[in-house]
């Protein structure tokens, strides 16, 4: 079986392709953009496509059988049990199969792709959170330093001031610290 993975995100596409190779004896190819001529030459049985790829609309148009396109594609999740389509869309992935392929053969492919999409999303979220945490910690450290210098507080006292500001305003301590630094900049005539 031949599977074509269309995903503008190359790291995610590689992860999906790797995951799929374990599912079945099959040939997997990945591309950032759906190219009709390349696809016709490869002649995939299944196309797995990321929902954030604009190429979904291109593949969608191949559902209509025409002279140039005698083998219409269908969206796999259309015909499967309730819930699978919902799960796939929420995971950010869609699968199209050439009409006539048994759904039972496609389901494991779609599920493997969904797992990789979720994994990638989790990794990206973790990375973004780690970056945000780091940035927030640096901001808090700078705000503490400012309070220590301007108000003659020790580190613990400076942190308590920030924490009280955060609790009173119901905002994260990183945001309060950023505001404090910005205001200090304005008071000092800093243009930035």
């Amino acid at each position: 079986m031949r599977v074509l993975v269309i995903d503008p995100d190359p790291a995610r596409a590689a992860l999906v392709a790797e995951g799929l190779s374990g599912v079945h004896p099959l040939e997997v190819r990945q591309a950032a953009v759906f190219d009709e001529a390349e696809a016709a030459a490869f002649s995939p049985d299944v196309v797995v496509v990321a929902c954030d790829s604009p190429d979904r609309d291109v593949i969608e148009s191949l559902r209509e059988a025409t002279v140039a396109n005698p083998r219409p594609v269908v969206m796999f999740a259309d015909r499967s049990e309730p819930g699978l389509a919902e799960e796939a869309v929420k995971a950010g992935v869609a699968a199209y199969v050439v009409d006539g392929l048994a759904p039972a053969r496609v389901r494991p492919i779609l599920e493997a792709a969904m797992t990789r999409f979720r994994l990638m999303q989790q990794l990206r979220q973790d990375l973004a959170k780690a970056k945000a945490d780091l940035a927030s910690r640096k901001t808090v450290d700078r705000a503490k330093g400012l309070l220590m210098k301007e108000r003659g507080l020790d580190e613990d006292g400076a942190y308590k001031v920030l924490r009280k500001l955060a609790m009173d305003s119901g905002r994260p301590i990183g945001a309060v610290a950023a505001d404090l630094l910005a205001f200090a900049g304005v008071l000092k005539g800093d243009r930035s």
Binding site: D52, S53, P54, D55, R56, D57, V58
Partner: protein, 396 residues
Amino acid sequence: MTDVRLGFIPLTDCAPLAVAQTLGLFAAEGIEVTLEREASWATIRDKVAVGALDGAHMLAPMALAASLGLGAEPSPLIAPLSLNLNGGGITVSRAVAEDLRRLGGDKADKAQALAGLVGERRAAGAPPLTFAVVFPYSIHNYLLRYWLADAGIDPDRDVRLVVTPPPRTAEQLRSGAIDGFCVGAPWNAIAVAEGAGEIVALTSDVWRAGPDKVLALGEGWAAANPEAVQALLRALLRAGDWADEPANRRELTAILARPEYVGAPASAIAHALSFGPQGIVFQRHAAGFPWRSHALWFLSQMLRWGQIGPGADLAAAAGRVYRPDLFRTAAAAVGAAAPQADLKVEGAHTEGWSLPGEPAPIPMPVDIFCDGRRFDPADALGYAAGFAITRTKVGA
């Protein structure tokens, strides 16, 4: 506060959503709206179908197709608001534009010159010209086909029609992968600005004051959240009014140009907003009203091109999806006039006219098709079968 998740595609006619969000009009109506930018119409349709979105900026024919289960499992949607009239265009590559000038001169009907070029290429054994649209169920597909067929070009036999994502149209024109396209704003203006092509007709030249996008909502979600639906409509009616106001055009352009909305150069957006004799209309002239005759016209074109069979119950589909009743309630609440009728004959006015409205008559614009044909919503099948080039025969 009710949370509402709406999807949109980065196009100029997402303006009512972008404006309502930016100016705080949703919040003023007590709803918290999250706007999610999506990359494809298929994803918009699927997310609304599974409830990952409550509604979206949507191609009007797509709302009908999704409800009828064309190209996907049936997913009942309602369209209580039209988002705009006009806005699209037909652009050809510079090479094709040169050929059209050679064959027709500058002032001739470009479609007739194109028919000459199609014949010339066939005689020379050259491959057929390829035109791109945004989606099979779109005003762009139907108006490109209308324009081609009016000049005697059979869109299924004499040219090749493909789907291309709008952000790639300019690049594909340059590479020769496509010879022309019909898409919404601002992509025609962008292709021209990048020197990739020339506009040969606007969709408003094919159907002056023709509809394009709607606000589509999941039928089940709308039934369960009637107050949120009305709040959304009130906010979007106010946003449409604001977007129509010439004094706000500069600010509107700046909002749309932002990366979280259209993310295109402000100059192209400004150009696209004022295309043609009418420009893009969001709310004035009852533009927001979900005319059931618009729905029936789209269905007539689905019939004409064989997307649905002659047995389909068109009036039932139009009545279930297009919801003028919901529009009227919202319009009364914001003091906007609403038409009294649900249907009108389309393409029947070569001059401005006055439409009976509640509480006051509504001044209406010119509304004509390029071939002068009128669409009587009571006979969509006869209309579809009445064209020289059609896949529908009455009695078939």
